[in-house]
């Protein structure tokens, strides 16, 4: 186990930060530009996982397990969110025959 940690530490922390930032921005752009709700969800997951990566990386570099706890926590929340979100999408599709988010602009139809 220690060797794995040591191995991970061989790579500079900046690489992790840059990678997760890239992932985060890709997710953000996806959220802002895509009209398909499913893709928006996927983008959100991407952003969450970018954060997870960063947490995990810092956790290793600082020898502090709190970051890893946070990772698990975010995963749970993300799973719950996806479950609820997909349910909403299914219902939306039933009424609108589409999952274009721009159609969701009124509280009733």
């Amino acid at each position: 186990m220690d060797t794995v940690v040591e191995g991970l530490k061989l790579m500079p922390i900046n690489n992790y930060i840059i990678l997760s930032s890239l992932l985060f921005v890709i997710g953000l752009v996806g959220v802002l530009t895509k009209r398909n709700a499913l893709v928006v969800f996927m983008s959100v997951e991407l952003m969450l996982n970018a954060i997870n990566l960063l947490f995990a990386a810092f956790s290793v570099y600082h020898n502090n397990s709190a970051g890893q706890v946070m990772v698990i926590f975010i995963m749970v929340v993300a799973a719950a969110e996806v479950a609820a979100g997909l349910a909403i999408l299914v219902l939306t599709y039933r009424t609108n025959h589409s999952i274009d988010i721009n159609l969701l602009n009124s509280l009733k139809h």
Partner: protein
């Protein structure tokens, strides 16, 4: 011995507490208690207080002075007020008057108010009044006195407006309250000044410290003048007397108790109590004497032309209070207290007698619609006659001795004051007998229905009347002047309080006899004159609108005091209020409040355009906002 004193302290505290207790019981259960219980409780509590006052009187007479400190009420480093009572000859005399006359009036009220739906409320207020009055009288410092002073003012307000469904009565109550408040302001300022000067408001401390000040020092003169302003308001002197005649809106026993016998004399008591500082202020004494004599004369001239039985008595009260202040002003402190006592007897009797007449006529108060009541109301007539003789100053009735004492002192002090006082006493005899003849002699002028209902009042009302009549006859004997071979018991009794040396009269005995003779003969002549006009010739005053000589019109319209006050005070005040209402309230205050409302509406109208329902837009906005917040936090 020690135990006996402690016992007395408890009993002294009981004197004011009993009426308070009765007030609480009646006041908290006024919907449940039946009238008999209320009547017995209310009168009984005052009666026990009276008995205790008598006990206290005898101990005081034997030389005791009670100072009962119940508890320390306000205690700061520099300002200490004890909740304490003081019984010395002066307060002992007032105790007897307040509880004695108060008890008789309570009993009388049981009959008078019998058919009133507010019976219990009435007695609750009356007990509260007696409590407040006793606090006023017993207080051993100015703050305690002020509590009582305000308490009686409140009860006066409540009882004047007792029949609160009548707007006019409510207005009368408010008028009384507001006018009293003007006076109270003076009283308060006087207290502040005393405190600033002496660092205490305790009677004993203030008086002993004041003794080191020179006669006529500015600070003492100012303080006494301010205190006297309080007395002007409470005791209905010029210029604040117009509330008292209006106060007749209250039930008649109230007029007898509050607006004749006790509350309105509080001003006199206050000045007498503060004698030690008043004698140091000759200017104030002159102001008091002049105010008193002018009030006495003015009220007497008004009383001649009044046709409401209670209004005549009200102006007569104002006039007699003026007399008391003349007494105080010329240094006859005992005389003033003496007149206060006898006045309490005969004026309470007059009011209660008038109440009995009004009761018999089912509410009629205009003496032009009365007449010939002598046969229908024999007891009332007799007691009314006695009281009228007493107030007119015919010996040996009570009013003669007290009035004579004041007049003699006034003569020694200043001949003009005596002259005006003498003239006032002539007017007094005239208007009182005018009232008596118009009410009781000749034939009845009311409606046939009223005539049918005429009846003498029940015993519960007539017995207090008889007791008061007896007091009106013999009450003067407590102060028989030396010139008549008496030794003036009251003077000796009060001598312990009025320590300042009395002004040397400087009158020979023959001079005093001449003064007495002039006063009495004048009064008798006026009585004969009144009899000729209203008894023999049976003249009835013309209606209010009838043409009259200018002077009579002036008197009838009360010297236009109310009109003048309306023009120079009430109307400008209304105008000012209207101005503030329109400009400050409506435009500025309401403008600001409404402005905030309109701002919110306007802003909402603008901001609602950003709520598009477009999720993409929301997301963009959210991201931008987060970025802005991040930048902001980084900047910090």
């Amino acid at each position: 011995m020690e135990k006996q004193i402690a016992m007395s302290n408890f009993l002294v505290a009981l004197i004011p507490l009993l009426p308070l207790l009765s007030f609480l019981i009646i006041g908290l259960n006024y919907k449940k208690l039946n009238k008999t219980i209320t009547g017995v409780l209310a009168s009984g509590s005052v009666f026990i207080s009276f008995i205790l006052s008598v006990v206290a009187y005898f101990q005081v007479k034997a030389g005791a002075t009670f100072e009962v400190n119940l508890f320390e009420w306000i205690a700061t480093e520099k300002f200490v007020i004890n909740f304490s009572f003081l019984i010395d000859p002066l307060s002992s005399l007032m105790l007897l008057v307040v509880t004695g006359v108060g008890f008789l009036i309570h009993v009388y009220s049981i009959g008078y108010m019998k058919h009133d739906e507010g019976f219990n409320r009435f007695f609750a207020y009356m007990n509260l009044f007696v409590f407040s009055m006793l606090i006023l009288v017993l207080g051993s410092n100015y703050v305690m006195m002020f509590i009582g002073w305000e308490g009686v003012g409140l009860c006066s307000y409540l009882l004047i407006g007792f029949w609160f469904k009548n707007t006019e009565y409510n207005n009368a109550a408010k008028k009384a309250f507001i006018m009293n408040r003007i006076g109270d302001l003076g009283f308060l300022l006087g207290m502040f000044l005393l405190y600033v000067t002496f660092g205490s408001l305790d009677f004993k401390t203030v008086f002993s410290l004041a003794a080191s000040y020179p006669v006529g020092s500015t600070i003492i003169v100012t303080a006494t003048l301010l205190l006297f302003v309080g007395a002007i308001g409470k005791s209905a002197q010029i210029p604040l007397f117009t509330w008292l005649p209006d106060a007749m809106a209250g039930p008649t026993p109230v007029s007898a108790l509050i607006h004749a016998a006790t509350m309105v004399t509080a001003g006199v008591y206050m000045v007498a109590r503060s004698q030690a500082i008043y004698v140091l202020a000759p200017l104030t004494m002159d102001v008091i004497a002049i105010t008193g004599i002018v009030t006495a004369l003015l009220a007497a001239t008004i009383a001649i032309y009044q046709n409401d039985i209670k209004k005549v008595l009200a102006y007569s009260t104002v006039s007699q209070l003026g007399y008391m202040f003349v007494g105080l002003g010329v240094g006859a402190f005992t005389g003033a207290m003496f007149h206060l006592t006898t006045h309490a007897f005969f004026k309470a009797l007059l009011f209660l007698g008038a109440g009995s007449v009004i009761h018999a006529l089912s509410g009629e108060q205009d003496i032009r619609n009365m007449g010939g009541l002598r046969k229908a109301l024999p007891v009332t007539f007799m007691v009314f006659l006695i009281a009228t003789i007493a107030i007119s100053g015919i010996p040996p009735f009570a009013g003669f001795f007290s009035k004579d004492e004041i007049l003699v002192h006034a003569f020694a002090h200043n001949k003009i004051i005596w002259g005006l006082g003498f003239f006032t006493s002539l007017l007094t005899a005239f208007y009182m007998f005018r009232l008596l003849f118009l009410t009781f002699s000749n034939s009845f002028r009311g409606t046939a229905e009223q005539k049918h209902h005429l009846h003498e009042s029940p015993k519960v009302m007539t017995i207090p009347l008889m007791i008061l009549a007896l007091l009106s006859v013999i009450g003067g004997f407590i102060g028989i002047p030396e010139v008549m071979g008496g030794h003036h018991a009251l003077n000796q009794f009060l001598g312990r309080v009025f320590t300042a040396p009395a002004e040397e009269l400087g009158l020979s005995h023959s001079m005093e006899w001449i003064l007495i003779a002039i006063t009495v003969i004048g009064a008798v002549l006026m009585i004969v004159f009144a009899w000729l006009r209203f008894g023999k010739k049976n003249l009835v005053p013309a209606g209010d609108e009838a043409a009259r000589p200018a002077l009579a019109k002036l008197f009838m319209h009360k010297w236009y005091f109310d009109e003048i006050y309306n023009t120079i005070i009430v109307k400008p005040l209304f105008w000012l209020s209207e101005f503030f209402h329109k400009i400050f309230d409506v435009k500025i205050i309401d403008g600001i409040v409404n402005g905030f409302g309109s701002l919110a509406v306007w802003a909402g109208g603008r901001l609602r355009y950003i709520q598009t329902g477009n999720i993409g837009f929301y997301l963009t906005a959210m991201v931008l906002a987060v970025v802005v917040i991040l930048f902001f936090m980084l900047a910090i």
